[in-house]
């Protein structure tokens, strides 16, 4: 009885596709704990979680677009532009915290609308995503720089910081926002019609259209939701660095792909894995944090970072292959 229970649990985990990212995270954590027994001390967990929050959010944003078979180069540019407009509204126009937050998020949504409409106009599938977001990333970044002349906005309302900086159970509030966003995305993909339409479209755009799924709706809505998540990530990043910096989001693009890909989401669309994406983000955060924690020679950081990512995805592959062979 117990045995079969266990088996169903294992097979559940296996089916959900989070087994391999889970193993990756477990290995990384074990290595860190062996090398540094106090690795999970409260202060370090706090720092880890703050970085994780943003990495996971940008991963979620990218994952939504990947679900419909696209990719989004402009994640970082959208996050930065929303943060800059919200920060500028507070610093230059004296807008209070809450309206500024709303303005920032609306700017993000507007970027999403622009992306969605243009992608649809360019065909809505395949290279259209790459072509359009390559251009809009440049456009959004240019607007950002034109507004700021490259200078940060310092006058962020302290109430604004409180939205994400207050602690709950010893963790920053923003972490729980991230979990909530993840939960909502999971809910959308598993329970809501629109989520299933996204997946159906991602798996096979032509078949989905024949079934009456509107390409326009799928592309537009997915772009808007992804941009919304990126804008929230921008707000959280602004809270974290206490200023609105024009070069925010510069490192997001590659991270945003790495988190869902390590977590088992496929680039070709039709499949998402919210928990896996979160685990992928945890893995990335541990790798970069571990390098500083272990005081690795700065000149080795880049090489080790890349190698560990490659090994992580390889672990995934060997592991799955082994599992399948045993099953048969």
């Amino acid at each position: 009885m117990k045995n079969s229970n266990q088996r169903t649990m294992i097979s559940q985990v296996k089916e959900s596709g989070i087994l391999s990212p889970l193993i990756i995270v477990a290995i990384l954590l074990t290595v860190m704990l062996i090398l540094k027994p106090n690795y999970l001390a409260a202060t370090n967990v706090f720092v880890l979680v703050k970085v994780l929050t943003i990495t996971a959010m940008v991963g979620f944003s990218q994952m939504i677009i990947m679900a419909i078979g696209g990719l989004n180069i402009s994640v970082g540019a959208i996050g930065a532009l929303s943060a800059i407009i919200a920060g500028g509204a507070m610093d230059r126009l004296g807008v209070p915290a809450f309206p500024a937050l709303i303005i920032g998020i609306l700017v993000g949504v507007a970027c999403g609308v622009v992306n969605g409409l243009l992608i649809y106009r360019a065909g809505g599938v395949g290279p259209a995503f790459f072509l359009i977001t390559l251009a809009t990333a440049s456009l959004f970044q240019g607007i950002n720089l034109t507004i700021t002349s490259g200078n940060p906005y310092y006058g962020i309302d302290s109430k604004f910081m409180a939205y994400g900086d207050t602690q709950l159970f010893g963790l920053p509030l923003s972490f729980f926002y991230m979990l909530l966003v993840g939960l909502l995305i999971w809910f959308m993909f598993s329970k809501l019609a629109i989520g299933r339409q996204f997946l159906a479209f991602g798996a096979n755009p032509k078949a989905a259209e024949l079934y009456g799924i509107s390409k326009f709706r799928v592309v537009l809505y997915a772009s808007i939701i992804a941009a919304l998540v990126a804008a929230i990530a921008g707000m959280i990043a602004m809270i974290r660095i206490k200023t609105a910096q024009p070069n925010m989001g510069a490192d997001w693009m590659l991270l945003s792909f790495a988190a869902p890909l390590i977590g088992g989401t496929k680039l070709n669309g039709g499949k998402v894995n919210v928990a896996g994406c979160l685990l992928g983000a945890i893995a990335l955060t541990i790798i970069s944090n571990g390098l500083v924690h272990l005081a690795v020679d700065v000149f080795w950081n880049t090489l080790i970072y890349g190698t560990v990512i490659l090994l992580s995805v390889m672990v995934d592959q060997f592991n799955l292959a082994g599992m399948l062979r045993r099953k048969r």
Partner: protein, 326 residues
């Protein structure tokens, strides 16, 4: 009119049209544009953009994105610098080492993609860090600035106002053109990129084609790395820092992606010229630096629009022809 319409139908219209307009506008507005100094300088920039655009085009025609393009350049430059400065290897063998290293980098990337089931995207992403990381470890961030004078002379040599390196780029472009146009390998690469399964069924060795394609992309990065090293006068890890996005923009402006992954060598060449002219124009017109990215974004979007207009025209004309036949 008929001729204009016919010209508009050509797939390179969306790059040639803005190119000609911009060229004329620059001649009229900025006397400095045609100065010998400026022409040489712009050709120097075009040289590097052209080769990396071709490298990216090769990967795109396989249906892959090569994110490691700049890191291959960086590692190649460092290894060339190391062999010349630390090991005393003469210039020509060192350049050969560079080309071999770059090809191996691309070969390894292709091998990983075909031998594992990991997404090509994430392989490229990891190699981006790994190749760069090896270069950083070898050089510890210090440039190799005691290179033989021949390297610098290679950069400075000119025929009239045309830098010699530009001829190297042209020769490279012609080589790539021949490969894609006339060789079986080129056809296989394009077939694989268009539809891997169909390519497999029609008897193409898809796996080795992917490896060959990536090796070629790597080799082109190596050529670009040599010219970039010469232009910097030193071998250093920052070679290739700006290549990734630039290479995408050049390939996109040149129509490689617009036509669905079909390699367009001439397009990539013209794309690099357009990209450099846009930059030059913005500086000559003294446009605020901060607005550059926004303008580049708008230029890209307009290029897509021109291309859409062209496709629509073709569609309408062929519909008309069908109606006429009825």
């Amino acid at each position: 009119m008929q001729l204009a319409k016919k010209a508009f139908r050509h797939e390179l219209t969306s790059v040639i049209l803005p190119l000609v307009i911009l060229f004329l506008a620059l001649i009229v507005s900025s006397p400095g544009f045609l100065s010998a100094y400026n022409i040489t300088s712009q050709l120097q920039s075009i040289t590097i953009y052209m080769i990396i655009g071709l490298a990216q085009m090769t990967a795109l025609s396989l249906g892959h994105l090569n994110l490691a393009i700049g890191s291959i350049g960086s590692l190649t430059s460092i290894l060339m610098g190391y062999s010349m400065q630390e090991m005393g290897v003469p210039v020509l063998p060192a350049l050969l080492i560079g080309l071999v290293v770059a090809t191996i980098c691309g070969f390894f990337q292709g091998l990983l993609i075909t031998r594992s089931r990991i997404s090509p995207f994430i392989i490229s992403l990891a190699l981006l860090s790994i190749y760069k990381g090896i270069g950083v470890v070898i050089s510890r961030g210090v440039p190799f600035d005691g290179l033989p004078d021949a390297i610098k002379l290679f950069n400075r040599a000119k025929a009239g106002v045309v830098p010699v390196t530009f001829f190297v780029a042209l020769a490279t472009a012609i080589m790539v053109y021949i490969i894609f146009r006339y060789s079986k390998t080129g056809l296989r690469v394009e077939a694989t990129g268009a539809n891997p399964r169909a390519a497999l069924y029609s008897g193409i060795q898809v796996k080795s084609t992917v490896v060959i394609g990536h090796s070629l992309s790597g080799l082109l990065c190596g050529i670009a790395a040599i010219i970039q090293t010469a232009r910097f006068g030193s071998a250093q890890i920052s070679v290739g820092d700006d290549w990734m996005l630039t290479s995408f923009v050049v390939a996109v402006l040149g129509g490689t992606l617009l036509s669905g992954g079909k390699a367009s060598t001439v397009g990539a060449v013209l794309g690099s010229v357009l990209m450099v002219l846009i930059n030059n124009a913005l500086i000559l017109w003294n446009v605020n630096t901060y607005m550059f990215p926004a303008i580049l974004g708008i230029v890209l979007l307009s290029a897509y629009e021109v291309d859409r207009g062209r496709l629509n025209l073709i569609k309408r004309q062929s519909e008309l022809e069908i109606d006429n036949e009825k």
